[in-house]
Structures are given as C-alpha cells and as structure tokens.
C-alpha cells in the first residue's frame, strides 16, 4: 500500500503505529465504543513510544519526526479506533503545535514537553454554543487580569485535558488565545456529549467562571492562531478519515473473500468487485491528497487549500465508503458483531469538526475566485 514513496523512517514509524494499533487498540475498540470508555492508559503508552509528540522536535520532548510521519501514525490509529485517533490529533495538531508555534521560549519549555511525552493531554476550546463555523462570533471574555468567563461547546478531550487553548475576547474586544491549566478553580464540565460515534473520545461542554489563564501570542492574534491551527488540524482529520475508510475496506474485502453466496465467494460477483475497486481507488486518492497537504506543511509552504481539499475529499470518502462496507456485509454489516457499523458512525463527524465540509468548500472557493467569491467586483 503506497509504501515506496516513504522514507525508511516514515515506513518504520507507520509500521510501529500499525503494530501497536493492531495489537493494543483494535481488540478493544468495540468494547470502548459500547462502554463509552476513554482509554487513558493507551495515551500513556502512546506517549512512551513517542506517538503523542511524533512531529515535535527532540529538544521539546517530542520524537523529532516529520509531519507526514505523524499523519501516517494517525491513519493507523484511526484504522483501529477513530476515537483514539481524534484524541491524538487534537492533542498534537490543535494544542501542542500551536503552543510550539506561538508560545514564548519560557511557555514552550514549560508547557510543551509534558504534552509531547503524553504525560499530559491537550485540548482546543474555540467553539461555543452560538459560535461554530462562525467562530469569530464567540462571546467568552477575558478580564484585564486574564481571567476567563464563558462557555465552550464540543471540546474534544475537554473533560480530561491538562492544557487547554481557549479563545476569548479581551477587555478591548479583541479575540486572543489563552492557556488554561488544570486543575484550576472556576473550570467545570457541564456536559459530556452522548454522540453517534467516536465513543472512545471525550466531547465536553465547559463552563469558565473567572478561570486564571495566560495569554498565548500577541493580544488580538486569536483568530489568526485559530485559523492557522485549523489549517494543520484539517490534515490530521483527513488522515483520520482515510484510516476509517481503510478499515472499512479491509473489513469488506476480507468478507468478500470468505462469504459465499450462490455457490461461490461473493467477491466473484461483479457488483461486489466494482464496489471494492471503487472503494480502494477512492481511499488511495484521499490518502494521496492527505500526504500532499502534509508534505506542503512540512516544507513550510502554503497548505490552506490543499488541507481543505484533503479533508473535504477524505471525509466524504469515509462517510460514503463505510456505508458501502456495510452493504457488502449485508445484514451482518448492520449488526454490532462486525465493525462496519462502528466505522460508519465514526466517519460522519469527519465532515463536521475542524471545519465542516461547507466551510472547506468556502475556503477552496475563496482561494479560487478571490474577491469575486465575496461578491465584490
């Protein structure tokens, strides 16, 4: 599977992530899904292996691998359990990397190593009940002493994270980024969401009541930090979607070889062959877009549009092809005895979080059409 274009280290890192995911995660994924269990112990072990800070430089406690290596690891984790993958993706792309990019040397030295080693978990608190895709409508406020008051919604790992990046309006009404550290007075979890899928991940609503915080980056840089974080974060979600779709393909193709109908394996039926051929082609195309965006980010080149394209395409492939996997399995696919229905439930959210598919299209169209996309002549 598309291995020849990777470096030795990238191949080995992918093999490590695959091996760990197949042996330590996949066998438990169905139970964690059923029990809605957040597997704390897995993140500690991933941290020991270096997978909680794959692309963080060595001097900051990471493994010093490149961004594509991180993306390869995410895909393998998602193939076993998409909930584990999103926790790692948010922890890395949306908490650790922005701290690294925008923190002072003192903040980086203090906050990044425990995250990169997986001793602590990170979260990204931008969304609010009244501010989703329209993030700049957020209402959470920070007072002159940097104390935060407000509410955040749908925060991945919100119940468990030690370090949270929180976006709030300062006394001059500028949106800035703040770092909140747990344990802290004034921060409470008001709701743990009951979701369609991704049940091994935590999605929480948070209330802030004069929570002490420190600013990250210059005052008023909040939206810039948020959007550049999401530019990179989308590539991680694209990788997650590719992993889910690959898992669905693996399940469907294995079933097509072993299940017989009308006296021969169902894989001998043209209709099944066509489904699986399309499925594999689409998964490979999604992977290629994802790797392209990851390589551009690694090279420090613009990747906003490429990341949006990767996420838009990969999430649609994941949503559609997990449904096709159920179709290949027929009635069995609709039961919890097989993982296809879990992939189907897990896939849907990749079209929603870190920017909906509609927002990805907006990003792409604006880059394509310039001012005309805004209705300006």
């Amino acid at each position: 599977m598309s291995g020849h274009e990777l470096s030795d280290e990238q191949r080995e890192i992918r093999a490590l992530a695959r091996d760990f995911a197949e042996r330590e995660i996949a066998p438990h994924a169905a139970a964690w899904d059923r029990e809605h269990r957040f597997p704390h112990e897995v993140f500690a072990r991933l941290g020991e292996l270096g997978l909680m800070g794959a692309c963080v430089p060595l001097e900051h406690g990471g493994a010093g691998a490149d961004f594509l290596s991180y993306v390869l690891a995410l895909e393998e984790l998602a193939r076993a359990d998409a909930g584990v993958a999103v926790t790692v993706a948010v922890h890395t792309s949306a908490a650790t990397l922005p701290l690294l990019a925008h923190g002072t040397p003192e903040q980086v030295a203090r906050l990044v190593p425990p995250l990169a080693q997986g001793i602590e978990l990170g979260a990204f608190a931008l969304t609010e009940p009244e501010a989703g895709s329209d993030a700049s409508a957020l209402r959470t406020r920070a007072d002159a002493d940097g104390r935060i008051t407000g509410a955040k919604q749908f925060i991945t790992t919100g119940s468990h994270a030690h370090t949270l990046l929180v976006f709030a309006r300062d006394p001059d009404d500028r949106i800035s980024t703040y770092v909140v550290r747990r344990p802290t007075p004034g921060l409470s979890v008001t709701r743990e969401e009951d979701k369609l899928g991704l049940n091994s991940s935590s999605t929480a609503a948070l209330a802030f009541d004069a929570v002490p915080a420190e600013r990250l980056g210059p005052p008023g840089a909040g939206m810039r930090i948020a959007l550049s974080t999401l530019d990179g974060g989308r590539i991680g979600i694209a990788a997650q979607a590719v992993g889910i779709a690959q898992a669905a393909l693996d399940t469907a193709s294995a079933y097509a070889k072993e299940r017989s109908a009308f006296g021969r394996p169902i894989g001998a039926q043209g209709q099944i062959q066509q489904k699986l051929a399309d499925m594999q082609t689409e998964v490979e195309a999604a992977r290629a877009l994802t790797w392209r965006a990851a390589r551009l980010k690694q090279a420090g080149k613009p990747h906003t549009v490429e990341g949006a394209q990767a996420k838009l395409f990969a999430s649609a492939v994941a949503r559609r092809q997990t449904g096709e996997a159920i179709q290949v399995l027929g009635g069995y696919g609709y039961t919890r005895d097989y993982p296809a229905e879990r992939y189907y439930r897990d896939a849907k959210v990749t079209e929603i979080y870190e920017g909906t598919s509609e927002i990805q299209r907006l990003v792409i169209a604006r880059a394509l059409l310039g001012d005309a996309a805004r209705g300006e002549a």
């Binding site: 280290e9 490590l16 270096g50």
Partner: protein, 263 residues
C-alpha cells in the same frame, strides 16, 4: 559481556510469497522487513542487559545480505542493539545455509562475542539450522528452541522446548543460542529510536575484511544444488459449518472426522 545477535532481512510477512517464473526462485522484490523471529533474539539480549545479573557492554546486530539489508540492521538497533555489522559482497550471493553459516562465523570471529543469539528460524528459508552451523565453525556449544535463559557466572542456564516437554541445560559461554518465539514478547521500538537508528555505528564488511575463503561461499562454494522450485499445491477449500444449533454442529463435525478415519 558482549552479545552478537544474528539477524536477517526477509520478505514482509504481509507480502504473498510466490515463485518468480523468470528465475525459478522466490520473488524477493516486494516489501522487506527484519525477520520477526530475530526480534525475540534482540529482546532476549536486551533483557540480559537490563536484568543486571551480568554487565553487558555491547549488543551488536550482525547480518549478511545485499545492500537493502541495512534496513533490517536499522530496525535491530531501533529495538536496542548498540551497533551493527553488515557483511555484504557480490561473492556471497547464492550461498546456501552451510556457506552462510561459515561466512557469519568469520564475522563473529572478528567480533569475539561471549554470546551469540538468533531467532529460531527465518521467515523465508525456514531452515532452523544456521545457529548450529555457526556454532560448529566457532567450536562453541549450541542450543535451539531456548525459551528461558539465565546467566550464571560464566555459564548460561537454558530451558529449551522439546517435543516431549522441557530440557534444562547448562552451557558454558561463549555459546550460540537459537531462541524460540515463546521466550519473550518483543518491545515496540520508540519513535526516537527509529529516528536515531541511522546514527548508530554500522560497519560494512566485505568477504576479504573478515578472512572469508571465497571458494567456500557463493553459489559455487555451496554444496546445495537447487533444482526447480514449485509453489505448494493449493489447499482444498475447508468446510464452514454455521453454528445454528450447537448439538447439530458437533454431530456434523464428528461425522466429518469419522468419515476421514480421524477419530
């Protein structure tokens, strides 16, 4: 103590093995990997080192193979070996087990280890014999299928798996020990170790560097003459019984076995 671990690059387990019709030999062009059985030998060496019963100065991974075999060495050092030695020479191509064992023994002579470890078999040739050949050349005791090892002064107390049970054997060091895959659960390499693997010392040696007699290696120096290779016959499709009524299922299984005079 100095431990040398013999390792081999083999076709990845996920790659379907096939005979290349143009050469009549196994097609080795696909993805390759470190022989999974060898990871148990590296882990055994690491456990001796970390166990603390005897100080281990160095773990050295040793392989013989083409240029691509350095990847297996990188994997070996990412799993804990301190450095590696790559014996590679066009003159060695086509060596049979006896010739390969002789060549590896010459490398080991130059390393002077106190203990040589290797996996029970390779995942491609599956000969199970290389350890014994190496030990014969080095005039060292050799054990196979070892699943427990304790260093006891200048000796090694080993438990080996046999068809009839377990043997407990004490051997004097230096010795060549082929470990069974039940000996341990190999660790995962860390990302840092993977990233650092190319920075660990790797010596590349040609036949002449370790005093290999060219007439004893390669296709000409091998006594095994390979004729034609054939893929094994395809297995007949099995019978799958859907377990709807367990009593009935058991009856069907018993009838099936009875029919074949298996019970």
């Amino acid at each position: 103590m100095k431990i040398c671990v013999l390792v081999k690059e083999v076709p990845d387990a996920a790659v379907e093995k096939r005979i290349d019709p143009s050469t009549g030999r196994m097609d080795r062009s696909g993805e390759k990997n470190l022989n999974p059985y060898d990871t148990h030998a590296i882990e055994a060496a690491m456990q001796i080192k970390e166990g603390g019963a005897v100080p281990v100065e160095e773990i050295v991974a040793v392989t013989m193979g083409p240029e691509s075999a350095v990847r297996a060495l990188h994997k070996a050092v990412s799993l804990g070996a301190d450095r590696s030695v790559h014996l590679t020479d066009a003159a060695l191509a086509g060596s049979d087990v006896a010739a390969t064992g002789y060549a590896l023994a010459k490398v080991l002579e130059s390393e002077q280890p106190d203990l040589v470890l290797l996996g029970q078999q390779s995942d491609d040739g599956e000969c199970y014999t290389i350890g014994a050949v190496v030990a014969d050349h080095l005039k060292m005791p050799s054990l196979t299928q070892v699943i427990k090892m304790d260093v006891d002064g200048g000796a090694l107390r080993c438990e080996r798996q046999a068809e009839y049970g377990y043997d407990t054997v004490q051997v004097q060091l230096p010795a060549v020990i082929s470990v069974g895959d039940a000996i341990n659960e190999p660790r995962y390499p860390s990302l840092k170790a993977i990233m650092g693997a190319k920075k660990k010392p790797l010596d590349t040696k040609a036949s002449g560097d370790v005093g290999i007699d060219g007439s004893l290696v390669g296709a000409d120096g091998s006594r095994v003459d390979c004729g034609e290779f054939k893929a094994p016959p395809a297995k007949a499709a099995g019978k799958i019984i859907e377990d709807e009524d367990t009593n009935e299922t058991v009856e069907q299984i018993v009838a099936w076995l009875d029919e074949r005079k298996l019970i």
